[in-house]
Amino acid sequence: MDFSLSPDERAFREEVRAFLRERLPKDIARRHARGYHPPKADLIRWQVILHEKGWSAPGWPREWGGPGWSAIQQFIFEDECALADAPLPSPFGLKLVGPVIYTFGSDEQKAKYLPKILSGETFWCQGFSEPGSGSDLASLQTRGERDGGDFVVNGRKIWTTEAHFADMMFCLARTEKSERQQDGISFLLIDMNDPGMTVRPIATIDSGHTVNEVFIDDVRVPGRDLVGEPGKGWTYAKFLLDNERTTNSFVHRSKRDFRRMMDIARAAQADGGSVLEDEAFRRRAARVEIDLKALEWAVLRMLSGEVPDPSASASALKLKGSSIQHEILDLAIAAMGPDIIPFYPDTEQGPGDNLPFWTPDEAPGLMAQYLYRRAGTIYAGTSEVQRGIIYKQLSRR
């Protein structure tokens, strides 16, 4: 075993850090440090800056315009970005559909779509979930009827993050007859500007807007926008989801959140000292830091291939990652005290009236984020689904 970063990797970390220091716009970092969802304009500006440097798609091989980084380099890059409050680039193009296209797509698809994902010109959204199929993805009802070489798609998608500003959707639709639920599903690329696409915002618990319902009415998808083979969509979807075994550990973001929580606790005064000096609070913070550091090594183990069963370990990462994320935010809320109660509108994105007179620096956005992140145990497979996956693997031993 070798635990240390190589000199090259250490130099790489310095390079990333220097780049972020110089090129990450201060206003974007400041907005992102708040808990609100980043506005599209910030995502584009930052993506353009990254693209200039050739770093806009950390996970992509050189062949398709990526930097060809190792897993450890990607880890370092994401870690530094999170610590510098860089917004997380929209994952739908870069992390999800991009790899599907360069792995299974046609040359035409590669040429048409990949460059604009890299440059930030095209934003994507993911049309997987449906009202009747949350964790049970295979039961989806959206249908694509064959019409000549095209597909005429009808259905309804839900929880579609960023659909309200996406240009394209990658979408699962049932196009073939099949016995098994998982078969007969195709992976289609749909233009959001098609008149049959209707996006309805979903008002969420945080009073923000990120997710939507998308109604697909008689949308004609040309045959050239079918990815790979018809009826194999389930395979591509699984490839796409398996591609990101460590993302749902939230480790980089949680490290950043931990620092912010400590700042809040240091600043909040209680009973003749800071909240951080309260021994009961401090002990809880210490305990979660221990877990957070272990989580980071759990991610590194996964990247090193040092896990006997990657799918069980990926589920463990999500379970532990979501619980650590929650505990850190819980501590932040506890440190904030009654100041979590007001609704603080995102003044960067709307009118700032009706803000309370007195607002601690870190308060706006914190509770909105807290509420939104409750979904951490739900999306990308509920905690129950993850435990089921783990048990299945355990029972095979």
Partner: protein, 364 residues
């Protein structure tokens, strides 16, 4: 000892549940809170005599006790009531404790005229109810003038008057202030649970002294006791409401070819929610039992109840939110409102850490 409600208490519960279930169902509530909240609902609440339910008959109240108050708060929790009922009850308790003709007169206004009262006690950077006020009151002729800042004054926008705490020569004083008086800057805003709150900047604001010194401290302690019973009972209603909505939802939602309620892990989680609620109900009874007891015993029970109320409501509603899956995260599902109310309740007047630390100081 007999812990069963008597006939009148059962009737009060039934009628409150019926009224709120009909006139204040989830859709009616959504409309009402846009009005932030509407005066219409308060009129009905007053006509039903609820603000005076636990106030003495000679003040125009119905002569009930802490039990009637808790019954109403519990039903309001179940219906996610938004409005000045709790704030007014806390102030009524403080005023009853204060005694004297002026305080009695104000109690009577609450009991029979439907007066709404806000408590302006917390301050910026404050942690909770037991923090000493830094706002200062200075004598000025017959009256006083208060200068200082008050934070998170719940229900001030709707209030007819406010009770303001401030430091005076012999400790703390409780003062009457009219919210729209001059010498007072005020910012109204909404809370994440759609309740209303305000920040106040007082700058030589004229104020009338109601009670001062040890008697004021006792009035605040009484206010805290009623605050804790009120939030404790509301938390019971909230948690039961959340459990009931969640049971209903998992009984209709299908995943993997089965009802969610067919999964054993979901059944057991519902059972755990029930266990927590049982515990909270029992703590509420225990705290009510100290109503006529010694101040230390009463304080301990009230602190314990506030801790449990916040934690149980947040836990049960959080479980309910999770069991609703993605749907629970939407504004259109009641569970997301139950959860938000629970989070606010947990932090209101001080969070669980704050009150648990206070409880721990009394541990022996």
């Amino acid at each position: 000892m007999d812990l069963r409600p008597n006939e009148q208490q059962s009737m009060l519960r039934d009628s409150a549940r019926r009224f709120l279930g009909e006139a204040y169902d989830f859709d009616a509530r959504r409309k009402d809170i846009v009005g932030n909240p509407s005066p219409g609902l308060w009129k009905v609440v007053t006509d039903l005599g609820w603000p005076g339910a636990a106030l003495p008959e000679d003040a125009g109240g119905l002569g009930g006790s802490v039990v009637e108050y808790a019954i109403l708060m519990e039903e309001m929790g179940r219906s996610l009531y938004v409005g000045p009922f709790l704030s007014t009850a806390i102030c009524a308790a403080a005023l009853r404790s204060a005694e004297g003709p002026r305080a009695s007169e104000l109690v009577a206004q609450i009991a029979s005229n439907g007066a709404k009262v806000a408590l302006a006690h917390g301050e910026p950077g404050g942690r909770g109810f037991f923090d000493r006020p830094t706002a200062v009151a200075r004598g000025d002729g017959d009256g006083y003038r208060i200068s200082g800042r008050k934070r998170l004054v719940h229900d001030l926008a709707a209030a007819d008057f406010a009770l303001v705490t401030a430091a005076i020569a012999d400790g703390v004083g409780l003062f009457l202030v009219t919210p729209d008086i001059s010498g007072l800057a005020r910012r109204d805003y909404r809370a994440i649970d759609n309740g209303q709150a305000s920040d106040l900047e007082l700058d030589g604001t004229p104020a009338e002294l109601i009670v001062a010194g040890d008697a004021a401290q006792r009035a605040l302690d009484d206010g805290f006791y009623w605050l804790s019973i009120g939030l404790g009972a509301e938390a019971v209603g909230i948690a039961e409401g959340a459990l009931s909505h969640t049971s209903d939802y998992v009984g209709v939602r299908r995943q993997f070819g089965r009802m969610l309620s067919d999964f054993q892990v979901i059944q057991h989680r519902l059972a755990d929610m029930f266990v927590e609620i049982e515990q909270l109900k029992s703590s509420l009874l225990g705290a009510m039992s100290t109503h006529g007891g010694g101040p230390l015993e009463r304080m301990r029970a009230a602190l314990g109840l506030k801790v449990l109320a916040g934690q149980v409501a947040a836990k049960v509603c959080g479980d309910g939110l999770h069991l609703h899956g993605g749907m629970g995260m939407t504004d259109e599902m009641p569970i997301s409102h139950f959860y938000r109310r629970a989070r606010v309740l947990e932090a209101q007047y001080g969070n669980s850490d704050y009150f648990l630390a206070a409880y721990a100081r009394l541990l022996d």
